[in-house]
């Protein structure tokens, strides 16, 4: 283990620091509350370490620039919030289709539309899954603390490189703006991607056999990158079997690496009667309730927190539903992930939504009351 030093920092700052530690050297963005501190941190730090910061003319351009820089061989990240996240969707789909690694941070605020720009919410969970058109795979991490903001951003950068898959870090205004202690390791937490050097002359950037290394532009491998369906060399195709195969392949890579992608954490009773499933800042309220109920009062209560919300941790929910009678899903929206929980509980447990959408956090009392109702 590298040595660590404790630092007091904000969630947005931790995200930026994690990105830099994981090797991100390119940031393109556009100012938007409550994500702006990520851009400000990057603007201050990247030039000091030879990286590139550029403030683009809009969110669409920011997403495009990040993809362009990634094709140039840099590790890239951009950050935004709801309205900007909406604008990034088309090029996010492009990056998924063209398999260009990048990390998109969405510090969620209260929507729809301009909403309440300074209020927290978890209303973009389904947008993160389905915001761009077409059947696409997506990975979404959801930090519940400043510490997780730091480490999940690092995981996102590294995994994005490994899988050639864009990854979304879905922060929220609470985690983005709160300050907490983070243990920052000395040294880098950057995983080198598979060697770009040992590339065969017959380089297939979209090799059917797996995930080919992405050889950056400018090294004499004259391949094509497009958002059109393409063959193994990147050239457009409309041939039905090739189209189907290509779509299957970008989904299969997530299935293959499922164990590295799906991150969850369970605390509480081994055989809970009432379980809470939470993600993001809501985990904090749920944790305080479960700690008190289980550790102090030995009640049959547990908490499954989801650091990964997409792909959905289906197996984990199935296993939990077999043990618990009731699963409570607190969300700061009108009920988004709860439908997914219900689908995978398969009727084995009663799934109860607990929603708040007034721009305030769900309090421990709210969760405690709901847990008490079912005990």
């Amino acid at each position: 283990m590298p040595e660590t030093k404790p630092v007091l920092m904000q969630g947005n700052e931790a995200c930026a620091a994690g990105a830099i530690n994981a090797g991100v050297r390119f940031y393109a963005g556009y100012p938007i509350t409550p994500s702006t501190e990520v851009a400000e941190q990057m603007a201050a730090r990247l030039p000091e370490i030879g990286g590139v910061f550029i403030q683009m003319e809009d969110e669409i351009a920011s997403m495009a620039a990040v993809i362009g820089a990634s094709i140039g061989g840099m590790r890239t990240l951009t950050a935004t919030s709801g309205p900007g996240f909406s604008l990034k969707q088309e090029n996010l789909g492009y990056a998924i289709m063209a398999e260009i690694p990048c990390v998109v941070v969405n510090v969620q605020r209260m929507g729809p539309s301009t909403g309440v720009p300074t209020a927290p919410a978890q209303g973009d969970v389904m947008q993160a899954r389905w915001g761009t058109h077409g059947d696409h795979p997506i990975i979404v991490f959801c930090p519940a603390s400043v510490y997780e903001s730091y480490y999940l951003t690092i995981a996102a950068v590294n995994l994005s490189q490994k899988l050639r898959q864009p990854i979304i870090v879905l922060l929220d205004e609470v985690i983005g703006h709160m300050r907490e202690k983070v243990l920052i390791p000395e040294g880098k937490l950057m995983v080198e991607r598979s060697s770009d050097k040992d590339v065969p002359a017959d380089y297939k950037p979209y090799d059917e056999k797996g995930i080919a290394p992405l050889v950056p532009f400018g090294f004499g491998h004259y391949y094509h990158v497009t958002g059109l369906f393409h063959d193994q060399y990147g050239f457009p195709t409309g041939d039905p079997p090739q189209v189907e195969r290509a779509l299957d392949r970008i989904h299969e890579k997530l299935e293959k690496y499922r164990d590295e992608i799906i991150l969850t954490n369970y605390i509480g009773h081994k055989e809970p009667r009432v379980a809470v499933v939470a993600y993001g800042c809501t985990v904090r309220s749920a944790r305080s309730v479960v700690k008190k109920a289980y550790w102090q009062n030995r009640l049959p209560v547990g908490l499954l927190s989801l650091q990964t919300v997409w792909p959905f941790p289906a197996k984990e929910i199935e296993a939990l539903a077999k043990k618990a009678d009731v699963i409570i899903v607190p969300e700061m929206n009108m009920g988004q992930l709860v439908g997914e929980v219900e689908r995978h509980a398969c009727g084995e447990a009663r799934v109860v939504p607990l929603n708040r959408y007034d721009g305030e956090m769900i309090s421990p009392d709210q969760i405690s009351d709901e847990v008490g109702r079912w005990l």
Binding site: F26, A28, P47, E48, G50, V52, I54, M56, E57, D58, I60, A61, S62, A64, A65, V66, I67, G68, A69, S70, I71, G72, G73, M74, T76, E90, N91, Y94, P216, F217, G218, F219, G220, H221, Y222, Y223, H224, V225, T226, G227, L228, F235, P236
Partner: protein, 270 residues
């Protein structure tokens, strides 16, 4: 020429998708010859394109090629240029792609004066979707979405770029491909944001509806209306009415963005 075809064209990807009489092939050929004449190393050349007929050229060119989303080619290119300032980027866009959906990226690329070579193939119409009017369709001309003629005035793309900060602006056309080739060479050698407007006939989606004749008629008309910037200098406005001024309209020196950025962080990109 044959060697050039072998080296710089992906001959296996031919024939191209363009209609008979389209000018895209002529513009693409001028680009290929221009790249050859610049002496750039093939591996340093990147072709970026947007969405539309002319943007399909990227797929036929044997370089690192990036076919992006509609209107966003310059934004992708900006990211790539900033990450890899040594690369030589040619950005192919259509008139609608560049000046409508991509208008914001166009003016801001000009403002930054980033070293990209923007080649706008202007056929005055959205061809791929079957003939809708673009911001470069001349007022009064017909399109499927302007069946009685468009009421909208058109942009002067090169003046728009100049106003926004572009440091090199040139106009050529598919009827005078050797001149176009020379203009692309000069643009490529210019450090900063270079704009080349390449007028190109679309007999199918534009010419037919506006009774401009076939491809040959359109090319002849293009050539007849064309007048060089040098000759135009001695003519008054009434003589210049209905003429298109060709050649290098402006070329000035100003700090280039990528170089300025890297200089500011203590790196020399040469």
């Amino acid at each position: 020429m044959e060697q050039l075809t072998q080296d710089f064209l992906r001959t296996k990807k031919l024939p191209h998708i363009w209609c008979p009489g389209c000018g895209n092939g002529i513009v693409t050929a001028a680009l290929v010859r221009a790249i050859d004449r610049t002496g750039f190393d093939q591996k340093d050349v990147v072709i970026v394109s947007g969405i539309g007929c002319s943007s399909r050229a990227a797929g036929y060119l044997n370089f690192n090629t990036l076919h992006t989303t509609h209107g966003r080619a310059l934004a992708f290119a900006t990211g790539l240029k900033m990450a890899r300032p040594e690369l030589k980027l040619f950005v192919i866009m259509g008139d609608g792609d560049c000046s409508a959906i991509g208008g914001n990226h166009f003016i801001h690329s000009a403002r930054r004066n980033i070293d990209l070579n923007a080649i706008i193939v202007n056929n005055h119409i959205y061809g791929m979707t079957g003939g809708q009017h673009s911001p470069l369709t001349p007022a009064g001309k017909k399109a499927t979405t302007a069946p009685r003629g468009t009421l909208e005035p058109s942009f002067d793309l090169l003046e728009l770029a100049r106003g926004a900060g572009a440091t090199f602006g040139a106009r050529g056309n598919a009827a005078q491909p050797r001149q176009l080739e020379q203009l692309i060479i000069r643009a490529a050698k210019h450090k900063g944001f270079s704009v080349i407007e390449a007028l190109s006939p679309c007999p199918i989606a534009y010419g037919r509806r506006n009774k401009l004749g076939g491809a040959v008629d359109m090319l002849r008309d293009m050539k007849e209306k064309s007048i060089s910037i040098e000759r135009a200098a001695d003519m008054d406005e009434t003589d210049l009415e209905d003429r298109t001024i060709n050649g290098v309209l402006y070329s000035v020196d100003a700090p280039e963005y990528a170089e300025a950025y890297y200089h500011s962080i203590g790196k020399d990109i040469g």
